[in-house]
Amino acid sequence: MASNSSLLSIKGLEKSYGSVIALKNADFEVSPGEIHALLGANGAGKSTLVKILTGVITSNSGTISLNGKQLTFSSPDDARKNGVAPVFQDPALIPDISIQRNLTLTGTNEARFISELAAMGLKVNLNEIAANIELPLLRMIDLARALSHDPELLILDEITAALPIDLAEKVIAVMNNQKAKGKSIIFISHRLAEIEEICDRATVLRDGVNVDTFEASQGSEERIVQAMLGDKNKGNSNDSRSSKSNISSETFLEIKGISGGKHLKDLSFTIKKGEVLGVAALEGQGQDLLFEILAGESNPESGDILINGKKVIFSHPSDAIKLGISYVPGDRKSALMPQRSIRENLALTRFRGISKWGFINSKDEEVRVDDAVSSLQIDTRAKSQVKRLSGGNQQKVTIGRWVTTGFDLLLCFDPTRGIDVGTKQQIYELVRDFASQGKSVLLFTSELREIQLACDRAIVIYEGKVQADLPIDKCDEENLLNAAHGIAVAK
């Protein structure tokens, strides 16, 4: 398609945050009256692209042209005035004030807003405080607000993820309606079926570059997944696995029909002693809640947790720790004491019961702490305050804490997020070491290739249930990604 007939034309867009490159030389075009899907794995640069397009951030270089006119958006308001209106992944309404005041903030016409909502068959009391409104309706309010500005280009970022089927269908009707009026839409979604159904074209980003653009039609999911994964898909063997599996026939943990929160619905699985079980899922499938439940941080609404065949109930993380379950949360900051030393951070769990509040056995503590430091190869140059350590070293401290304490099952939530490659490798090795000592590990990762590097088996969670339970030789990224999108995978 020639660029002079494009509504939106992006050329050579670049953006970096410090040394991290989010976008490099990305090109992207949207025609008038087109629904264009923007796809890519986590960290591929989708959000960055959307943020630049809507004036939230500015690019380092590259050009954006709208209707043939080159523009730079200095603020979301600026973008809106130029006909670009976004609906972001998270509700963009200020929770503590009424809908009416939220509308005033964006200069939205109330009558127009009400009629847009009515067109979708919805109604809302404008005096209602945003925080009192359910999430799905909030998403629709966001959408109606964006439509009220009569955008040439509507950007929908994961809008259907939080919506039940009936509302999702309404969104699709709105999209088709916009298209009929000759307006364009950029549509971001993890639901590949939706993309095939309603999008005209799809562009796939990988590592900050647009790698493929094609007509979206039935059967293009294979091509999408291929483009998202790229060469990484080929020949990544499991050669990094340094130690052999030592899986016992005994089950350590069994989860039976756990439900809770917005996402978890009747989730069941088991982990054997000495097994590393991988967990893969797209964002927002309830995996965070699952880990919190197992760590004793949250309670399930229904379902049972069995340890060594016995039913257990946790009312505090200390209950889980007592039974040998240790938790390394996804957010390192919540596990660390930033102003205290490596030693105090590593030794923290030693004082968890009142009976341990007395005199510290310095010798014993020193031995255990030094043990953990050397077995995890923690860099102790900045030992006095862990906030001065690198992300990788901080993560080692959060894991090392449990090495000094001892555990039977380690819950690791995305332990390698934002960590350099070398440290990632060390963490995989560490996990394999735990397994060879007969300990179990439950490992959620947003980097699918890690599953084959560190796990013995993997489950994929989709819409709160186990979509697939795969042996390690089936855990290639393609299978995992398919299952994560709700597509059946042959065992």
């Binding site: 505090h316 993380p317 949360p329 102003q339 205290r340 030393s341 769990t349 004082f351």
Partner: protein
Amino acid sequence: MIKLKMFDESRISKSMLSLTGILFALYIITGLLDSYNFSIPAIGNIFYLGAALGLLAAGQTICMLTGGIDLSLAMIATGAAFIVSVKSSSGLLVALSLALLYCVVIGAINGLAVGLLGMNPLIMTLGMNAVLIGVFTVGVTTFLQGSSTVPEALVTLSTASIIDTSGWVFESATADPRSWPFFASIVDTLSWPFFIWLLVSLIVLFILARTGLGRLIYAIGDNAQSARLAGVKVWQVQVTTYVMCAILGGIGGIILGGQSGAVALSLANSFLLPSVAAVVIGGTSIMGGIGGYKGTMMGTLILTLLSSLLTTINSSEAVKQMIYGAIVLALAWTYAKISEKS
């Protein structure tokens, strides 16, 4: 072998060094204004006067290390002294036990409200302070009627020297050490309040540095969520902290009462803000998690010296308050500057 020190020695010593410098400078100024202040009894007097503030500030330090604060501390101190005075007719031991019970109960209520109900410590203890003022105001004329005079034994304890020389008999006056000026000044210096403060300080320092409880006090102040995930029941630590704080405040209050001879409901009022100021000047973060009692001791001495300096220059009460406030702010600002750099 990698050795992991418990604290960052260099950082601690740097701030302690600057505090010592400030203390020394203040001392020189005080002495230059009145050379009596260079004498040993004058130094002893600083410790004697600083003891009550030091004890209150010890409680405040523990609270603030957990990220909390106890604004009911002055009324806890006053209340303890008051109970001891009024109930002394039933025997000193009974009176002291009742005062201790009072401290434990008030501390536990503060701790439970903060730890289990999640109330903001500032609001909770401020409210507690108001309630206690009300209770004692009513109590004076009803259930706490009695003498407001502090029992003799406590007055002696709060004012006398550790070394009781009154019964000493010597053959000649020159053999009597009481006639040697140096010995006499040492006797004057080692007052009971100073001794009690020293003893309690050692215990507090030991708890903070060498016990599991001490580690947890720092831990929950730095990141309570982290402590919880490590299996620590945070509320238990908070209740213990507020009870310890109240007991320390109670001891301080009783000494203050003994030094004054009689207890009024305003006894410890003027010590509340200095107890917070001493902690902040001493380098404990108001957000918790970092600092310690050594710094607070220096802060206490600095504030006490400052107070005596202002008395020396014989300023009016209003001028005194202004200078006192301005210097406290300047110290806090200087300290912020220093810790920013390191």
